[in-house]
Each structure stands twice: as C-alpha cells, then as structure tokens.
Symmetry: D2
Subunit: 386 residues, 4 copies
Amino acid sequence: MQKVRMGMVGGGEGAFIGAVHRMAAALDGEIELVCGCFSSNPARSERSGLALGLPAARCYSDYRQMMRQEAALPAGQRMEFVAVVTPNHLHLPVVMAALKGGFHVLSDKPATLNLAEARALLPAVRASGLHYALSHTYTGYSLVQEARRRVLAGELGRVRKVVVEYSQGWLAGNEDASSVWRLDPERAGGSCCMGDIGTHAFNLAETVTGLNVAQLCADIGPLVPGRTLDDDGTALLRFENGARGVLIASQISVGEENNLNLRVYGERAGLCWRQQEPNSLVLQYNDRPAEVLRAGWPGLGDGPLGLARVPAGHPEGYIEAFANLYRAFAARLRGAPKGGFHLCGLEAAWRGMAFVDTVLASSAAGGKWLALPADGVGAPGEPLRP
Amino acid sequence: MQKVRMGMVGGGEGAFIGAVHRMAAALDGEIELVCGCFSSNPARSERSGLALGLPAARCYSDYRQMMRQEAALPAGQRMEFVAVVTPNHLHLPVVMAALKGGFHVLSDKPATLNLAEARALLPAVRASGLHYALSHTYTGYSLVQEARRRVLAGELGRVRKVVVEYSQGWLAGNEDASSVWRLDPERAGGSCCMGDIGTHAFNLAETVTGLNVAQLCADIGPLVPGRTLDDDGTALLRFENGARGVLIASQISVGEENNLNLRVYGERAGLCWRQQEPNSLVLQYNDRPAEVLRAGWPGLGDGPLGLARVPAGHPEGYIEAFANLYRAFAARLRGAPKGGFHLCGLEAAWRGMAFVDTVLASSAAGGKWLALPADGVGAPGEPLRP
Amino acid sequence: MQKVRMGMVGGGEGAFIGAVHRMAAALDGEIELVCGCFSSNPARSERSGLALGLPAARCYSDYRQMMRQEAALPAGQRMEFVAVVTPNHLHLPVVMAALKGGFHVLSDKPATLNLAEARALLPAVRASGLHYALSHTYTGYSLVQEARRRVLAGELGRVRKVVVEYSQGWLAGNEDASSVWRLDPERAGGSCCMGDIGTHAFNLAETVTGLNVAQLCADIGPLVPGRTLDDDGTALLRFENGARGVLIASQISVGEENNLNLRVYGERAGLCWRQQEPNSLVLQYNDRPAEVLRAGWPGLGDGPLGLARVPAGHPEGYIEAFANLYRAFAARLRGAPKGGFHLCGLEAAWRGMAFVDTVLASSAAGGKWLALPADGVGAPGEPLRP
Amino acid sequence: MQKVRMGMVGGGEGAFIGAVHRMAAALDGEIELVCGCFSSNPARSERSGLALGLPAARCYSDYRQMMRQEAALPAGQRMEFVAVVTPNHLHLPVVMAALKGGFHVLSDKPATLNLAEARALLPAVRASGLHYALSHTYTGYSLVQEARRRVLAGELGRVRKVVVEYSQGWLAGNEDASSVWRLDPERAGGSCCMGDIGTHAFNLAETVTGLNVAQLCADIGPLVPGRTLDDDGTALLRFENGARGVLIASQISVGEENNLNLRVYGERAGLCWRQQEPNSLVLQYNDRPAEVLRAGWPGLGDGPLGLARVPAGHPEGYIEAFANLYRAFAARLRGAPKGGFHLCGLEAAWRGMAFVDTVLASSAAGGKWLALPADGVGAPGEPLRP
C-alpha cells in the first residue's frame, strides 16, 4: 500500500501539538511526512524538517510558496494533504492557500479565529471539492464512535438530557496573558476556556447525540483575578429536539487533568463516557443492570470494534484516538466512502465557531438565551430557522 | 445513660421515610420511641404504634392532642422531641404545635410547603428557645463533615467553583401526577425535582463550602410530556464570595440511582465526594498527587473520625449517615455544645425554601439571574443585602 | 409483630463486636435485648446492662445462671435466643449451656476454639433441635446472596477457578502478643490471621460457589519479626468439583482496610464482588459486555432484591449486612422456612474450623496438599470421603 | 537527530506482535525500519517488506543471509539492531546470528524456548559486548518505572508481601491445540499460560521490587478438559529477602481482558498498579490517606515524569509503553548511560526461563517448594546459592 503523503504547516521545534499530529500520522504506517513549513523563520523551519528526516528542499518557511512548489511536483511525489497546526489566526489563510494549491486539509481546531472567518471558510471548501477534516481528537476514541452509533440507532430512545464537561486545572495559578497566549485576547481571540476546551465538549455532545444545540444561556468569566478572558464557564443548552443540557468547562478546577466526560440520557437508556478512562462506555437502564462496553470487546458495532489495534485490555489512549482520525482521513483520500467512522469536517467547523460566539454574546448579555446561528450564515441570537 | 425520648408525627404503616427515621434513631441505642401520631386515622395510628411496641395510650391520631397529652405527662416520661415525617404541607402546623407544647423538633425536609410558611417558621422557632434540626441526611456522612471542616479551615484557599449534582432516573417513565404525588402541584407545591432533590444538592453545596449562594439563573421543566411540574433542571450559581457554580438535578436521567455528588475547587485544592461511594473523599492538587481520604482512617479531623461505628473498610451507608443526625441531635438535647458536627437547622430551612422559590421564579422568567431572598424575609430577586 | 427476645453473653462495656451485634439486632425493630451476661465481673455486667436499658435483675455475671434463670421465666418473657459474643474459648461452653436451657443460638465466628471442640459442638446442636447460626457477616450482603443464587442456578456454568482474598494492614506495625490478643497463642489458638479473617474468606468462597474445598496447600507465617502466630498466608485450593483456587489473607498489607473480595470463574461467566463497595456485583462474559448488578436494582432475584431497606443508590453497609443475619434468624425463630436467604450454620461452623486446622497442618508440613476433614469427624489430611 | 536503523526478523503479513513492535518503534520518530526477514517464504517476506515501504533488496527470507548482507553494507546504511519477533523456538538461533553479525538485539519474550537454551544465550551475549533487551512491555509504563523507583528508594521499607496476577479469559472456550499454537507442546514448549503471561507477571514483580524470587511452590494445569498444557496456575513465592508472595495466572478466567496487576506491601507503605488503568499508581499507608500518582503529574520522579508524551489526563496506553522500550533502547545505542529507565535485559531473560522451568517442576512434583536456578547455570530445585 502506497503511503499517503502529508505536508505540515506549523509544528516546528518545541511545538507540542505538531508533534502529536506527527505521532498520530505515523502510528499506522499509512502516512508519510514529505514536506513542511514548520516556521516562518527559514533556519528554524529547515532545522525542524531535517530533524524529522526531510530533505532541505522540502522545508519551507512560507506556506504560500510551499503550496506552489508542492503543486509543481510530479503527482506521485507531491504532498496530497496538509496538516494545519499553526496558531488559530493562521488557520484560514493557510487553508485558503492549500485549497488553491489543490490540497486536501486536515486542520487543527478551532477551524478559524472567529465566526466571521468561518463564514469565509465554508464556501471556499465546498467550492473546492477537496476533503476537509477537523481534528476533534476525542471523537477518535472507539467508544465515542460506539456511543454515537448507539444513539443514532435509537437505542436510548429520544434524547432528553445531556451533561458534558471538560474541566482542567492548569490555569488555576496566577498565570497571565504574558505567559500564556491563550489568555491574551490578541492571540487567542474572544475566549480562552470556551474556545480551547469548551469547543471540544460542545463537539462531543453534538457528535454523539447527532443533535444540534439550538439555543444556549451562558455564564463565563475569569475566576482568577487580573484576567481579561474567561478561564471557566457553564452553558445551559436546548437541543433542536427539545432535549436540555448543560456544558461545563473550566481551566481553574484544581487537580483536574483533562476531565472530559459526557452523559446522554434518553427515554430508555443512558450512557456515560469519560476521556480519562476512554476504553469503557457505560450503558445504563432503569429496568436492568448497567452494561460496561469495552474497547475491542464483543458488544461493539463492527466499525468501532475494528478500530482496535491491540486486544481488549491493552489500553489505547489519546495518541491512538488521534491516529484514528488520520487513518480515517487517509482512507477518504484513497477513496473510501464516508460512513462508518465519523470524521468531523466543515459542519463541525462552523458549529464550533458558532458555539463560542454565542456563548460570548449570551454571557455578555447577562445570561440571555440566544439561538446559535445557522450553518454558514447568521449571527448569535438570530431567530432559529423554522 | 438515659435514652432520649422521641415522639413521631407521620410514618404510619407502609410509610417509607418514617421507617428510615426510626432505624436511624434506633441504631445507636440512645433514643427511644415513646409515642406517635402515625396517622390521622385512629385505628391505623394505633395499629402502627402497637407494631412498634408502643402502648395504645400513646398512639395518637391528632397531633395537637398528642402535644397536649405528652406535655401533661411527668418530666421523666413524656417525649422530649418530636420527629416530623409527614407530607410537606403538615410540617409547619405540626412544628408549631410541638413548639407550643415545649418540644424540640427534628423535621424532615423541606422545612415547609413554601417560602411564605418559612417566613412564619423562623421567628416561631427562635422565640421558643427550643432545638430545631432538619434532616438533610447527606450531611450526616462523616466525609461530608470532613469536607466542610477542610474548606472552612481554608485548606482549599478561597473557593472559586462548585459543581453539585443530584441525578435520579426513577421518573423517566410515563408516571403522572395521579400515581406519584410529587408530580402533583396540589400535594407537592410548585416543584417536583428541585423541591425534592435539588434542595439536597443545594444544601450540600452550602454546607460544605460554608458559603451562601447569592444569585442563580435556572432552567427547569418537565422533560417527560404531559407533566406540570419539573422533573429536571439546572441552575447557574453565584456565591456570596464571587465563586461560581452549577447545580444539576434530574429525575429522568435513566439508570441513575441517587447520584448526588459534589466538587469544590479552591485556589489551592479541589475536593470531590460522591454519595454512592460515601466513604471516600478525594482531595486533589495541581502540584502533588491526589489523596483519598477514607471514613474511619487517619487523616480525618477528630470529629469526622469519631463518627465511625466500625473500623475503616467496613462501609457505613445512608442509614448510618441518618443516624449521625439523630445522635448529634440527642447530644444537643443532653446539653452538648454546638460545634463539631454540623447539624442543619433553621438557617438551612430558610435557605432551602428560598432556593426553590428563586429557581421557580428565575426559570419562569426565561432564565433571569435573581438574588436569593435574605434570611427570613424578602422574596426572590430582591436586591442582595449590602 | 411481637419482637423476638434476645439475650447476650459477652459484649460488655467497650467490647467492639458486642456493640455491632446490638446495632444489627436493633436496626429493624424486630428483636429486643432482654437480658445479658456482659461480663463475669458482676458490677461491670450490671453497669453494661443498665446502660443498655435493662433491669438489673436481668444483668447476669454467670452465663450458666443466666440460662437457668431465664429458662425459669414465663414463656412470653424469657429470652428466646442468645447471641454469643465472647472470646473464642468460651464459645463452646456458652453454647452448650444455652442448648441445655433450651435457647437458640446465634454465635460469633469462629464457632469454637479448635477442631476438637467443633467435633463436640455438632452432635450437641443437632440433638437439641434448636436453631444455630454463625455470624459470617459478609454473607449478609444482598449481592453475596445474589452471587450465590446465580452460581447455584448454573449461570456461570461449572465453576473452574476461585480467587478470594481478605487483606488488612492493621498488624503491620510492631504490635506483639502482649498488646493484641489475637497474636497470643494462649488466647487466640493456633492462628491469628487465618483464624480471624482467613475463615471469612474461606466461608465466602464456599458460600457463593456452593462447593466444598477438598484439599489445600498453604504457606502461612508471621512476616513481622518476633511473632509466634501467622499474620499473613496464602492457600492453594482444590474444590470438590475439580475447580482450583487461591485464598489470600493478610494483616500486614499496609494501607488495606478490609479488602475482602471474591472472584468466581465458570465455564460461561465470571463474577466479582468487593466488600468495600458491597453494593455492586460484576458479572462478566467472553462474548458480551459485563453487567454491573446493584443492590436494590432490577436484575436481582426476589430474595436479594427484598433485602434492601432503602432505594438503590442509598448505600447499605456492614451493619445492614449484619442486620440481615439477625432479621433472617428472627424469621427462622418465627417459623419461616429455610431457603431464600442463606444463613450460615453448623456446616459452616465445622468447615471453618476444618479450614484453619488444615492450613496449619499443611503449612507446618512445608506446604503439603492435605484434605479437609469430613463433616464432624476426621482430621486434616485424612483421605477424602469417596 | 539521525534515526536509529532497525531490522526485523519475523512479523510478516498478518502477524500481530510484529505490527505492534513496528508501531512502537515508529511512534517517536527516532527509529527507522530499514530491512527485514519477515518470513522464510521469499515472496511473502518481500510482499510484507514492500508494504512497509522497504526496497525489495532489503527484504530477506533467510535471517542468516540478512545478517551477512547487512553487515556488508556501509556503516551509515546498515541496520544497527534487530528486533526479533519470531515464534519462540527461533529466538535463540536468530539472536546468535545477529550477534555474529555484530548487531544489537531487541528480542520478544520469552528469551528462549527453554532453560537449556537460556544457558547458551547468556554467555554469547555477554561475550559479544552488544546490547540485548527483552520486550517486557508492561515495564515500559511510566508508573511501573515509578513504582520501581520508589521501592528501590526504600519508600515502602523492607518489602514483605507481593501479590501479582495476570488473568485473561480468552482460552475459556473449547479451543484446542489444533487451533491455538500456545496450547500445542510442540510449538509452545512445556507451558501455555505460565510461559505466555505468567512470565510477564513474574517479571513485573521482580522488576518493581528489585528482588529475586528464591523459591516457589506451584499448582498449574489445564482447567478446560482435553488439554495437555496449563491454561491456569498459581505459585506461592518466597523472595530472597524473606518476603512472601503469590502469583496468579490464568487464561480461562471468563470476562478478563488483560488483568495484570501488582501489589507490593512493605513495612511502611503499600502500592498497587493495574495494567488496564495504567496511568494511576496508588501508594497507601496505615497512618495517612492513600495517594494516587498519575502519569505526567507532579509527584513522579524525573525519569518516569519525562516519559509522558502528552499532558496528564490524556491517557497513554500499551503502544506508548512499548514505545518507551524502543526509545530507551535507541538511547542506549546512541550511548546514553544505563540508569534511569529500567530496560529488561539478559538477567530478566534468564529469570523468566528459570521461573517457567521451576513452576513446571514444582507442579509436576505435586506442589513442592523448589529453588529457582542461579543466574545462567543450575536447574530448578537446586540449593540456593548461599
């Protein structure tokens, strides 16, 4: 099997998330890194690329140049897709350049800097006919896929209640915007906590339920004095089918690592999944004992079962979940039909940005219920589409 | 040691909570049931009392008569306190009659039918000089007392965030008000879920943090079609010290038993307690490993440690927690000083009713932030006292 | 319902286990303590009894006298059964006296001081026609009863493997026989750890599987220097049906509280129960997800389900399990048929003593496989009955 | 950084463990697969290698030829070490050929087919001066390394008791030797369960405690009828320092996945680690609350802390643990000093084979205590070295 050829923008020396993307891409041996624009500093980009075993000629310092030069290479040699792992404000321009060069895109989340940019992103991707995926890593866990499969198959009955949370503690100290760019409005945009991890929780809830949040009412803010951006927040949710929910996100919850967890309650059953022990999924009932589904163990659908790389009881973790995204994306590029594995794409890109904008607007309005803007258009609070 | 003599109003044949009160009172052998008005039906009350080993002469069917007759008995013979375990609408009149008779009161929660009644309760109890306690059972767990002790001692630093939840699933079916009195506005008052279990969650959060909720913004409602009263709800919270929080209560979360849990995050530490495994309390930090405190094990304060009836690792449960309330109340009656064990009383009575009223008002207003009314006066949404 | 009248031998001021027996007997309000021989010191016994609300006339200091005097009381007044909570060496003589007086017996475990005494106990009880029960508390948990029910119903298929453990840490210090009577051969008999808690583990394994251990091979010893008796040990087991197993007991496992746990693996399913979280029972399979049975929740048999005093999710613990024994014993005395709740009796009495003797003999022989002696006769290592 | 060049023997199309080795080697981007003898079938080996992106010229079908040809390549091009992932009976000859070619070796466990072969392995490796490592994967978890670090630092005090278990359920059906090679004495050697997973448990116990097992007494056997080799077994252990222990291994424990777990109890503290939730390590005490150490979280030693690839709470699993072995081995080849990460090597190779042989001998002798043979010489049951 020919490896799929990947380029990368961002992820130079010392960049954390770029390294994770590369481990994820490398894990299954189906993708090969062939070029990169790891930094706008030419020396740094080249040093980074050489350390990764790339030839100097394919270490770029200008992503537009990279797109042009790669596009000029022979078909069997040039990169096929680009992984975008830059800071958020560069996502849109890099993706635009990639589309222009005819390259598929796997982008880090959030899709863009803000909702206005997302309004530009959607038509461009759609017009290109190219593949676009968003690295909502947590959806890559096999049991998240299984949870979605079961909810969509109606096993819970109509969904009535959703509780989703992403709590961390790492910003509970007195860090300020000079030491943590996520706290700096210039670099992070309008939100720290909700943009960074609230979006993951939101995406997880919508992915698993297959339902859109229609309206929300939020209370966010910095709980550590001296900050401008939110480090904590909660949003009350109303889903399009009438279900209610709550989304909790925090970066000041001391002692929490990456406590992302989801519970969905339907008419007939409930489910519970926790990211820190990702290989278990609990299904619970009022009229019989709860069941504990396990990654790689009988009881899963064929798709989620097939994600396992090692036998049940040999835990797979975050990097494997991430690798599942890359493996699915590579399969798409090879022509695999959509369906089966749910890979977040353009719709999730919009939803995430719409979520953050609406949370900001609702909280700023003193906790007002606002509608999330419709796909690709609109602004928070506009009337729901009928 | 002379046993403390208890009377009971309510709790006749088949009544669940009355039986639990009696088990709790009996467990430590310090309290003796000497009389009761178990039902307004004379035959039923007598039958209930005889089954409990009481003489017919002290089985009453009119609680006012009970108060009068008991008051007329010799001091060493008459009941010393009355346990009120009637439906909610009788709490106030029974307590009033008890106070008039000079009897201390241990009342089931909620304290009264509504906030207006609570406004009447407080001055009456205060004027009487008698002891009044409210059976917020969950505060009876030794590790809840330990959690409170640690927060009040400042071990967490200033409290910033509180997450409290009480989720059940037993009303997820199609029960209606004809089969479940809690769903009937006539009998249950303005709220089902928030009044029944939301109050427990609220009380737990205020008890452990030692902080009052200043304002809230709620979204409650029936999620099962055809109901009038709420079977689910969430409230955003703001505490008097600026901390934020969220309270989740539900009776339609399929598969949940009595999932009451609390997390408190301060500047320096966080804590987590779960009622279904009540003998563990997790203290967690950003700079060192989490600790798991265990009932009866070194690491607890003397008070909580002393609550254990059996060595650590022999689990004590709900009935023991309830018995802790009775044991503490009996000690008060024998003259033990307040302090040490935190027993909920008049203040908690008011706070609980204020919480329910404010939740109802906020939700009815479409999710408006409202202030909780001040102690013994006021109405939801009135300005906070300076 | 008339309360069943109980007398007690042992359990004076400060005695731990006597107090637990009394709490367990009192919990359900079906048993009344009417007399006791709490100490051989008359003043101490009377003081203990008065503190428990007994009249001085029924506070004895000689258990033989107690049996005689109680037997002379009117039928509706005299005690009906005696709870024996003395040190082990008194179990046999007290039980003998009780039988002679015509009183049923609920005895603390172990049944006797040694196997020779057990050989005397069995025929005496059988000849008396009286009820005899042994307080193997852990079998009182509803999920232990459920586990037994399921195994006996064949849900696991033939049992192949049993792992049972009881680990504590309280003897990990440098306690010696002068401070802890269990370490003193004079008072504790031939074994500390195996006699005290190994017997509980052994009983749990035999109770749940319904199988007898046929042979064992043990390695026990004091792991803390300077001790004569064992504070730790392990035994390899062979069951009568060919299943194998292992029993681990320890009192020097630092940090362990009362870590009693059992796993049984059959041809088709496995089960796991842990005493420190006693309200869950896991059933696991090779071909589908594990199920988590919960006390008081659908999925249990009628008998175990009916043991719940409070709704599922309100944990019941050690005292409630103990109370289940008392409630079942009281029901027997009122004529309830055997069946349903499994209450340990004479057979368990013998098995426990046979276990300890065989462990001691096997370990002393340097780890030799020995057969457990047959019911009421024989000695360790004698040939198995055909 | 130049990648370390790896060759592989074994691991052709469809071979499970070879693929895991390759994922582990690839994860950190420090190792490059440059050649392989994936099968003795030339077409199959070439097909396998091409699929992995190797040139046909470096796809061998004879491992001796591979060693010769690679040795003849320029230094900067030829493989530096060989990963041996063949069936067990080929381990020794392949390693011998590798040593002869001057190549370092990372071998799958068990090191050899039997103890006699291990006696040949040790002097050959020692004489070669080359690096030899054994893939005891579970020791690669950061918290296993941390556990070892703490025990060796004396934090538990003298070790007194060890409980180690590896239970699986996958052989609980009626599989026989025709379908599962591990059950076939011809292909698997003298043991199925003990050789396959008992060795992992044994290695884990010796690795973490830093102590050798001196003697053992075992009971193993097939519990599923019709089998020749053991599918279950237990061994009582005595360590060189006088500590006792028990090792449980099973492949017929229905519902178990890869339940490998270890507990070590010393004079002052105990520890507990479970492979299925590998990112937690519990340290427990008699005089204070237990601590839960977490991968990547403060509280770990610098070495184990540095193993984390992602922030705490993003679980790393089995493949990452495996990759830790490869990363450490690559560092050795680059000249990193031993120390820090504990990588199993020759000593563990011998110990594992000695363990299996002694278990077989003890069990065959009807449960006799036997000494494990000394390093590189001796046979089970020979007197312990003084």
